[in-house]
Symmetry: C2
Subunit: 147 residues, 2 copies
DNA sequence: GCTTGACCTCAAGTCCACTTGAAGTGGCAG
DNA sequence: CTGCCACTTCAAGTGGACTTGAGGTCAAGC
């Protein structure tokens, strides 16, 4: 079991030391001890951080991630919740694909105004429709689309 | 050309009046005039807002959106930049797909610890590798992955 | 033993996209 | 003409995720 000091963890994970302290405060990671004042981490923290990273990318808040894989300390996860999240993520992915198509269309379309193009409008709508009700917390935007 | 008051725009777009004022301040939308103090919007603002929404979903900051489709006022867009953005977005989508797979795998995998599973580790790596260098501004996370 | 400087703590600051609140204005129904 | 209240302005507040700064500690090399 390798012991790492905070600078090594920072270097190997790419997560700044200040962030590591912040994560510790939030209960996302924990040093296995101290050498004087200095934190001593187990190399396993790198996996932990990778998991945090995964969660962040998936759109979870730190708070959610904390609850997810560390109610006690083990990476215990509610499998049902995970699948639900994956479903949400897939939904988001589909919208992003719409947006990507929209961007490419906008780049290619010769119409003077993109808004005149039916296919662009359709894409726009597809992307916008999903804009409501975000889980992770990126952009709720519209709660009552049309009265 | 229909004229809308701020409440109508808010209702039809789902964007709160406070946000519309904020957007105006940021140069994202503009009323065509005033009736007394009150803003009067052209119905076209709805398209504009849809475009803003599209941009937000794509991960652009308001600042970027402003520059993108309104250097002067028309929806002038740099097509090359758009394609570049679409490419970035596709890259992001691929990472998200990795994350989705990771979540589903975590939910299904019977290994006591996910970290023991090679396929999970692979997925994790795929997701993490792209975690650097974000455009829109969601999470740069690591600037110097490994020294 | 002394200096060095990486590490520590804690409070405050930053960024982004908004939201909220207080105080004021004025269009329009009655 | 009056009064209501939807609209206005401007300043300040919010929240999440960090970062920064001031001031302090201590392990280690000289």
């Amino acid at each position: 079991m390798r012991e790492l000091d905070i600078a090594e963890v920072a270097e190997r994970s790419g997560v700044p030391a200040s962030t590591l302290r912040y994560y510790e405060e939030k209960g996302l990671v924990a040093p296995i001890g101290r050498r004087g004042l200095r934190r001593v981490f187990d190399a396993g923290v790198l996996d932990r951080l990778a998991l945090v990273s995964l969660g962040r990318i998936a759109g979870f808040s730190l708070e959610e991630i904390t609850r997810m894989f560390a109610p006690d300390g083990r990476p215990r996860i509610d499998r049902t919740a995970l699948v639900a999240r994956a479903d949400e993520l897939d939904q988001r992915i589909r919208r992003l694909q719409s947006v990507s198509r929209g961007l490419r269309h906008a780049a290619a379309c010769k119409a003077p105004s993109h808004m005149e193009c039916p296919s662009f409008r359709r894409i726009l709508k597809a992307a916008a429709d999903g804009a409501l009700e975000r889980p992770g917390g990126k952009k709720p935007k519209a709660r009552k689309a049309r009265a």
